[in-house]
Symmetry: C2
Subunit: 156 residues, 2 copies
DNA sequence: GAACGTAATGTTATAGTATAACAATAGTCA
DNA sequence: TGACTATTGTTATACTATAACATTACGTTC
């Protein structure tokens, strides 16, 4: 699932919640209503969503909420690999395959604003190698590509 | 020059200013005192520097300055490839080789906070190719790696 | 199931990053 | 010189994120 393809999006959300429940059960973590709700909201689309956008919705739904409410939920979801942060946008997207730790690359369409996640270990490895050549031990990679997705490209 | 190696740093600043002057002359752009000063300040070290950190210094030196003062100078320098923005840090570093447009990769040492710039076209190309496989036309890549530089690594 | 300890959330305040909008000034060129 | 444009000044505000402490909910032990 690239995020750019047509698909039944409701199943994306459902699957994400299911995966999160399974993962939290496995790790003995609490998947609270707030955390679940924030995860669902992040998954409303394949577009990155800002923390304050989430906050507005959570406020509407709960009648109360302050930035820490949503930032803490986001932190939990990030820590457990259930969502990703898009650094170039200061926003968050659901993770496509939250099972284990993985290095991801993001394709950000500047036209429709959707984001797709790649998981190309060869790229990650090559980056680690080149860094090592410079005497650098890599810990974490952030790779974000902006451009135009297939749907938004000029029909040729 | 990796930014991690020992070097005469004054020449880094001098070279950066010279390169900027040449580039601006070539393109018919105005390398104003403010722009030059901000470039010099960004080059004070190989560590990324925040906009408000620059602002404080500029304020001291000119007696007046507001955020737009420094942000506009930074924007000019960014547009012309004289500096880079480190997205994961919301901060700015000088560009090692501001001649032409290029894709850069950044190695960010979490210990000493210095940043080195790679310019590995093979990585950039591989990323473009994999993106293209997903039907995505790449325009710009952001690649930032955190880890430990040689100087900060445990002596083994 | 009562008491305790811990994790999660609530609440208030503030820090940090960035831009909009309009005014004033400086440089350029006919 | 005068008109035009680019640059900088100035004020206000938007957006993003966290610190610090209070309260509530949960889980465990006895």
């Amino acid at each position: 699932m690239s995020g750019f393809e047509n698909h039944d999006h409701r199943s994306c959300i459902r699957d994400a919640v299911q995966a999160a429940k399974a993962l939290c059960a496995e790790r003995g973590l609490r998947f609270t209503p707030l955390r679940q709700r924030v995860l669902e909201l992040v998954w409303q689309s394949h577009r990155p969503v800002g923390a304050y956008e989430l906050l507005d919705i959570v406020k509407d739904e709960r009648g109360r909420a302050a930035p820490p409410t949503v930032y803490r939920a986001l932190e939990f979801l990030l820590e457990n690999g259930l969502i990703h942060r898009i650094e170039t946008l200061n926003a968050f997207v659901g993770c496509d395959h939250p099972a284990g730790p993985h290095t991801a690359q993001f394709l950000i369409c500047t036209s429709c604003r959707r984001v797709a996640e790649l998981s190309d270990d060869a790229i990650a490895k090559r980056v680690r190698t080149r860094a090592a050549d410079a005497g650098f031990r890599s810990e974490h990679q952030t790779l974000e590509v902006t451009g135009t997705c297939e749907d938004c490209a000029e029909p040729s």
